[in-house]
Symmetry: C2
Subunit: 757 residues, 2 copies
Amino acid sequence: MSKYSVIGTRVHRVDGVEKVTGTAKYTFDMVLPNMLYGKILRSPHPHAKILSIDTSKAEKLIGVKAVVTGKDTIGKKQGIWRRFPELCDEEILCREKVRYIGDAVAAVAAIDEDTAEEALDLIEVDYEPLPAVFNPMEAITEEAPQIHEGVELNININRHLEWGNVDDAWKDCDHIIEEQYVCSSQAHVCMETHDALASFDHNGKLTIWTSTQAAYYIQVLAADMLGIREGDVRCINPYTGGGFGSKFELDSAQFCAALLSQKIRRPVKIVLNREEEFTATKRRTPMYYFVKLGAKKDGTMLAKEVRVITEGGAYTAMGATALYLTGFFSSFPYKYPNYRYDGYRAYTNTAPTSAMRGFGAPQSTFVGESMIDNLAEDLGIDPIEIRRKNGMTPNYVVPGQAWIQSCGLHECLDAIEKHVKERGKLPPNRGIGVSAYGFMSGGIFNWFDTPYAFSSAIVRINIDGKVDLFTGANEIGQGSNTTLSMICAEALGVKLDDIRIHSADTGICPPDLGAWGSRETLMNGNAVKRAAEDAKNQLIEFAAAKMGINIVYDMDIKDGWIHLVDRPERGVSYYDIVKDAIRGKDGEAIIGRGHYTPHRKGMISPAYSFGVQAAEVEVDPETGRYKLVNVTTAHESGTVINPVGIEGQLEGAIMMAGGYGFCEDQPMDEGKILNPSIADYKLIRALDMPETEILEIDTYEPEGPFGAKEAGEGLTNPTAGAIGNAVYKAAGVRIRHLPITPEKVFRALEAKKKQEK
Amino acid sequence: MSKYSVIGTRVHRVDGVEKVTGTAKYTFDMVLPNMLYGKILRSPHPHAKILSIDTSKAEKLIGVKAVVTGKDTIGKKQGIWRRFPELCDEEILCREKVRYIGDAVAAVAAIDEDTAEEALDLIEVDYEPLPAVFNPMEAITEEAPQIHEGVELNININRHLEWGNVDDAWKDCDHIIEEQYVCSSQAHVCMETHDALASFDHNGKLTIWTSTQAAYYIQVLAADMLGIREGDVRCINPYTGGGFGSKFELDSAQFCAALLSQKIRRPVKIVLNREEEFTATKRRTPMYYFVKLGAKKDGTMLAKEVRVITEGGAYTAMGATALYLTGFFSSFPYKYPNYRYDGYRAYTNTAPTSAMRGFGAPQSTFVGESMIDNLAEDLGIDPIEIRRKNGMTPNYVVPGQAWIQSCGLHECLDAIEKHVKERGKLPPNRGIGVSAYGFMSGGIFNWFDTPYAFSSAIVRINIDGKVDLFTGANEIGQGSNTTLSMICAEALGVKLDDIRIHSADTGICPPDLGAWGSRETLMNGNAVKRAAEDAKNQLIEFAAAKMGINIVYDMDIKDGWIHLVDRPERGVSYYDIVKDAIRGKDGEAIIGRGHYTPHRKGMISPAYSFGVQAAEVEVDPETGRYKLVNVTTAHESGTVINPVGIEGQLEGAIMMAGGYGFCEDQPMDEGKILNPSIADYKLIRALDMPETEILEIDTYEPEGPFGAKEAGEGLTNPTAGAIGNAVYKAAGVRIRHLPITPEKVFRALEAKKKQEK
């Protein structure tokens, strides 16, 4: 028998047929009897006092059933960093002050969307505009207006990381470079905008169906903000049309729908339109990087010092984590003996910045990978060689931070080196840039202060051998329902088709922290595997008894066959033993339980994946226009559970990370986002996509289920850096301000020509 | 502290607010995207061959999306007595023959109900009518047409019960009476007609939402009839508008909706209209009773011999169980040393007869309680005295059948005797009739051949102390969600409001055989109690550790306080210990499991409740019209879990059982039911209701949760007999053919006058 029967095979997604036939239900599709439609009134001012809100005209409009403002709330400020009350700073429905264009001030429930829209126009808000600040570098000056009471210099939070002795190390360096970079914002642009359907029953119990990455968080946060117990909230995540980091905090659609339903005791649905999605939801954190990097002549990097100011926008959100992670990943994927990071997050009167796929690492990787190329050039060392010299290796310990067990970085460097050689001598104006990266498999930090295991799963085996798998994991399109079903099938020894997964319904599934930070495969996968093994062991007891085998033999289940590990032909049918076992247990179905919380793995993540990417571009030296020709990625994610899934993740990541490096941006005028539509916001489209190739490197992660680890989010990290390095190789200009638009390349080429003259 | 905090208190139903505000969702209310509406074509013939069915015209009708006939099925015959394949005799969609007016032959799914109705008219069925038989006494003669192939004399099944030596015992009797009785049919008349919404997904998995008493049965039977695995069917029972025995078999709405959805892969909803509900669903079994009863002069009953022929209608259904139970309950509630029962169920060309509240016992109780009054009169003994002399007592063993542990029959007799005395001397033409009865608390027989425990429950305690209770029990209006929540709250020691119950969804709840035979309180109650105690014990471990108590002390939880049983002031908060315990278990929620399958309790039921009812009537001697003046019931159901629930059950039972005795009937002409509407079918309405009074007798059933047993169905047994006895007392006529209509009383009075002349 081959090692695995399900893992590593090319299967259809378990939700594939439903999705391609259009029968999969999203919150967007849902309708309940007596349902009302909600709309949210948002601030047109970046910073203003609310003097009064008059909703009386709106309330009188025929078809309007309820209007709520901040006065209808319990007046609590929310935040996902619940361990730190001072970071819970967002009211959602503002009572006294608005802090960005898009801040919510009122919401309406009406019999249809048009009526609700009309009612918004009838709400009269009397604002007193206040001076506003938009740039974080200005926000932290004495002159800037104060955005949150009691927060000096608008510094929301700072993070410090340090090991070794950076100040001493500079003396030992043969070469030191200091550079500044600016990382821009980016929108998540999910296919499904934020939406929620909330229904309070007459016993005061709330059910929310919503497009979310973390049903459990929404349950807890909604309860908190409504002043009810979390056990009285059930959050159900039907299929979700993308999250990418934008959907694991309580949002205005969820909160306003719930508040309206609490008031009117009818189901209320709110779907944000695309303009709201761009302007009034959270986005990737823009960062200002100031970096000093020193090395020996031979390329050995001795010290790095990083200072970062991030544009926080109006509220904390997940920005505190992004600030922390960009500092941690600024050391990646290299062994810096001396390292210091100081990050500051500044409040600004812009839309809050928060988590987005990569979570601070695309920024740090862009900066770090640009600089290591610059350093290599200065020292006359090959870019791959300098990475090889400093790159992390298995069992490396990041001092005081993390224990990296598996690490395939060097194999990835070898593979990309081979790839670059194979591309041969390039035509003029072409260049290949290389970028190395690593990423985590879920976070260990518990700012949410959950008392539950990070992941839990329950496996129930029914009389016909079919399996109900209950997990709090959130299927957001990333394929977790498929991956977890595969893990369950493999661990239990049955067919994938035998598994029916129930996920992300807090009424019936055990808690899970949700789909963010690339945590589901490793963390929930471990819980699922343990639950399946718990159930399997119960069956093996009955099989062993029936077969009367010598107790020294090990038994296992594979493909529905319970057998001796060393004599696989000796066995009994799983389906028969299920029947025996249920009878033996007086008719109780077989139930297995498993949970996973990382222990003894440092402060960041239980495991890290690594990779190296090569981007090839062709630049027009006259106009600066350039084209992504090829992006090849050597990637290791431990054992590959679902190869088709990884391919999809890779292509999606190149589209998204390429967009971050190449074209996506959110220009603003006095805090107003100027391109809040898919027509004006430039995404990489199918026709713009480069050739993509994946070179899968084999590793095994001892902490992961069957040796698996992260396989989707880390892929977002390298591309901006690889593009920057490729543009430098092709055109000789270094762009330090994302995105690397053709316009910026043109201006740099012009400046370079002028300088050369 | 008082003994119980939740049990025995007067609480609102947990679903009460939803129900009175109209927000509770029934299958009837459900809508899914792309849903189609189904209708069923039914036979107009009581017995006919199907020569051909032409659906082509119907298929061409605009708006029709699918038509199915027997040819679309896998050709399997269904039945709920799965251990006996020969009793699985119903195709639902007939292929070769129809056997009653209402048998289904085709079904249509269309964009709306009108179109579906129109399509039914376009289906051309070529029938060859066959000779039919309607009366069971005729059906078992040689001359009768054969209804099912290979079934001689149309005898579907027979049952025999015997103990002692009846033939010898007659010699010792001083007085023997022999009488014949006819028990009529009765319709369940649920507020919600049979309905189902079936949705097959593209992976071949089926979800059925349906009004049912047994979601688990529907899951299994639907899978069986569709040729798919039961793990691929999820049956969800939303709120159900009444069952009364009519809704725990697979019905035409469920099967046709599922078959149509399987064909068209869209959701299909079928709601039977009221006429179909009366003519094409199952009904109470009419029975022909032939009884011989012998006693000593002092009233000691020595022997009883009962022969019963039941009108089976076209299929077996639950009729086999009704045949068995009417035989068992013909011995109730008395200690017959010698007893023999022979029952025969005859197929007829009428709508199948099956289970209905009381399940054979209302018939046997009417006959038995009429005859014991006749016997008492013959012997000159007071009716209550003769019952006292023969009545069952605690720990009585019905030979070879049942072990009755708790029994409050004698206390009930005392209470009714007191009540009758208090009524004093009655005016002329008034009479009080007494009737004693017993009933079971769920059946032990497993004709369904389930491999699962009869009842199972899972209790999950969340971090805030709120409890998710998962049970397969079916809330059908009888209040099981409330009763089970109360048991859970009491057993765990928390507030009722802390419980959130999830019931009767086979995808997420452990199996339960459903709500029939008065099984949920005792059987599911035991499972819930055990699951709650399992969870409680896990908490007590942590509390004991925290308090550092001497291990000889016992601990318990009550009102959220974990304390020493003997020093209740020494304790800790449940809510605190929940947090500790979840942390201690590395974040896994506390999960308790419990199941219950009766063992060592004989062949019928784990427990029996008893009661005595007195009905007072006033008869107009000229016209036979009579009025129910007062019905008083002394009742014992062990510990009363939910007193308000019992009151509701009692009033409902008097309405239903009074109707059975007084006015409900289903007259037929050549197999056609003549009154298939609520206008023509006579129910007891609010204005017809007598005064009702309940005298609760305290008992404790060791097998039941907290000492509880059955409390709703048994109440349907005594009323027809009590009315019959009261009419005899008031007017001197004995009516032996149900219902005891004024017309029958009038005719009997006329005959009596003629005889007296």
